[in-house]
Amino acid sequence: MAKPSTLRRQLLVWLVGPLAVLWSVSTVVDYDVANQFVTAAYDRSLLDSAIDIGRQVKVTDGVIRVDLPEVVLEMLVTGEPGKFYYLVTGPKGEYIAGHKGLPPPPDPETDKANYYDAEYLGLPVRIAALYLPLESGSMGSVLIQVAEGVTARADSARQIMIRMMLPQGLLILLAVLLVWYGVGRGLAPLTSLRREIASRSHRDLSALPEEQAPQEVRPLIRAMNGLLARLSQVLAAQQRFVADAAHQLRTPIAGIKTQTELALRQAQTGEAQAALRQLQTATEQTTRLVNQLLVLARAEPGAERGHRQQSLDLTELARETATEWVPRALSRNIDLGFDGSPNGTRIEGDPFLLKEMLNNLLDNAVRYTQPGGQVTARVSAEARKVALTVEDNGPGIAETEREQVFERFHRVLGTGADGCGLGLAIVREIAQSHGADVTLASGANGTGTAVRIAFPRAA
């Protein structure tokens, strides 16, 4: 249910969370500040209007009058039109001019300008009140009150606040984008590391490159390289163990084999001979198995075999190996031949493994081909490859089985021959360790089997 946490998401949560809180606090503060400035400015102009009205107050013959033509009044309106009110009250509180009923100042009879919030005609208003002494000082002061609706102020304050908030919001958005992009960029070395690891073959246990990685990623690479090193040590130890075990087995098998052959010579009865022949066959199978285990241990990834790699002529090696197989082939009445290319067949390889690969191919071919059949080993130089082919005109391998025969301990059913099923697995393992491709096809004329191994040609 829970999505795995990503660095990006964590960073964003930690960045956007506090930024959002900060933004809200800043909104409140900004609004307050905007409000103060707006109030101060609007109050000032409201006071100016009061002073202007005060200038029109005249006393003629002891009667106070205010002369306010419509044009002048319009000029005084600073807030929303139609929401401007004024009231002039005489020294004794008598109405002189303006809108009746404007709430009186809470703090009467001061010299200073008096601002206050109140309600007029059911609407919130801001009022400036001013006591203005009349020209003939003995008569006292008139009270001038000027009021306007507050909507305009609130609008201005909101406008200012929005203009302050918008860049901040954009800044946060930009930060989010930068984090998104930056994390992606910052993690790029990890992505390339992942690609490097994903594209590796299971054979390659060499250290990962550390040079291009940023400082932060290096410990990870180093730890991984440490693991790879330990892994290849373990693999090498395991392979050494298999190799040692195989070597150890050879001496007792040699004992069994020698004793069996000796007993076979001395056996008096047919039954004893038959039993000894079975024993001989079993011994040979064991020998083959032990040899193949040894080869697998050597050909598998991690085996320490670098120093055995050398430049060699595949034609020469194949000719030599095929030669050794002739007596066995003849004893089964199989015509074993060789077809080599005089030059251009040098490759880089481990002669022991390559020879063992050929032994397996020839062994399979000779083993599964019927008496009177033909087996041919061929080495040919191609444009960039050197191809080794072992072809027979035996029973062949069904197309559906061609992939399986490369698996360990797989045996083609119904062949009746005594293989142990490691042969082609070994062939493929050795081919892979030499960077060669193995293909299995039918032989010439669509009968039999042709195993082709294409090696990269040595430079």
């Binding site: 070597h247 150890q248 050879r250 001496t251 007792p252 098998i253 040699a254 004992g255 069994i256 084999k257 020698t258 004793q259 052959e261 000796l262 010579r265 011994t283 020998t287 040894l294 000719r319 095929a322 030669t323 002739v326 007596p327 003849l330 015509d335 074993l336 031949g337 060789f338 077809d339 080599g340 002669p351 022991f352 041919t376």
Partner: protein, 224 residues
């Protein structure tokens, strides 16, 4: 003919000892390197079968000491290892041949015979192949006791084939053998000699097979 077997595995040592005794060799057997060293220092043998992986003193050391004493007795090394460098190392120290375990008894016996023959070289010897015999010193061949009319080059080719009877001999090896007579022996010339040999030998049931792309092989006689 006295043979010393140095092998620590009792089953293998016993098998080797009994089979060689059956072939009328006089056989002594020791099962560790130190003892082998003592015995070899005290007694003369015609041949030594030496396992390279021995307890106490390994086969390499036994061999090194043997050669340091100036002995030229032929040594057939046995090894359970197959690293090529080990073989080379064994041969460098003076082993004359090697076999990897497990081996076929007939193969071992053939190698023994070859080593003994080499040890006795100088006097020449008679190679036998069923009804066919070749006197390498007298340079003549007989079939069922009757002299065979062969040219020197045909005899040379036959000698190589008989030496490696049952195994493939390639044209280069035959050409090398004939190099002493001709300046250059082409592949065609060898085909001609083989063809002539075949004509003379086939009536007696001796077959020289052509192995495609590899060379020739003198088929083993039906019996022994």
């Amino acid at each position: 003919m006295r043979i010393l077997i140095v092998e620590d595995d009792p089953v293998l040592a016993d098998g080797l000892t009994r089979s060689l005794r059956e072939s009328d060799y006089a056989v002594d057997c020791v099962n560790d390197g130190g003892e082998a060293d003592h015995v070899l220092a005290a007694q003369g043998y015609d041949l030594v079968i030496l396992d390279l992986g021995l307890p106490r003193l390994d086969g390499f050391e036994v061999l090194r000491r043997l050669r340091r004493r100036g002995s030229r007795v032929p040594v057939l090394a046995l090894t359970a290892r197959d690293a090529l460098d080990e073989r080379v190392k064994g041969l460098d120290l003076g082993a004359d041949d090697y076999l990897t375990k497990p081996f076929d008894l007939p193969e071992l016996e053939a190698r023994l015979r070859a080593l003994i023959r080499r040890g006795q070289s100088g006097g020449g010897s008679v190679l036998a192949h069923g009804a066919l015999a070749l006197d390498t010193a007298g340079r003549r061949a007989t079939l069922n006791g009757e002299p065979l009319d062969l040219s020197a080059r045909e005899l040379g080719v036959l000698e190589v084939l008989m030496h490696r009877s049952g195994r493939v001999v390639n044209k280069e090896q035959l050409a090398d053998q004939l190099y002493g007579w001709d300046e250059e022996v082409g592949a065609n010339a060898i085909e001609v000699y083989v063809h002539r040999l075949r004509r003379k030998l086939e009536p007696a049931g001796v077959t020289i097979r052509t192995i495609r792309g590899l060379g020739y092989l003198l088929e083993k006689p039906p019996h022994g």
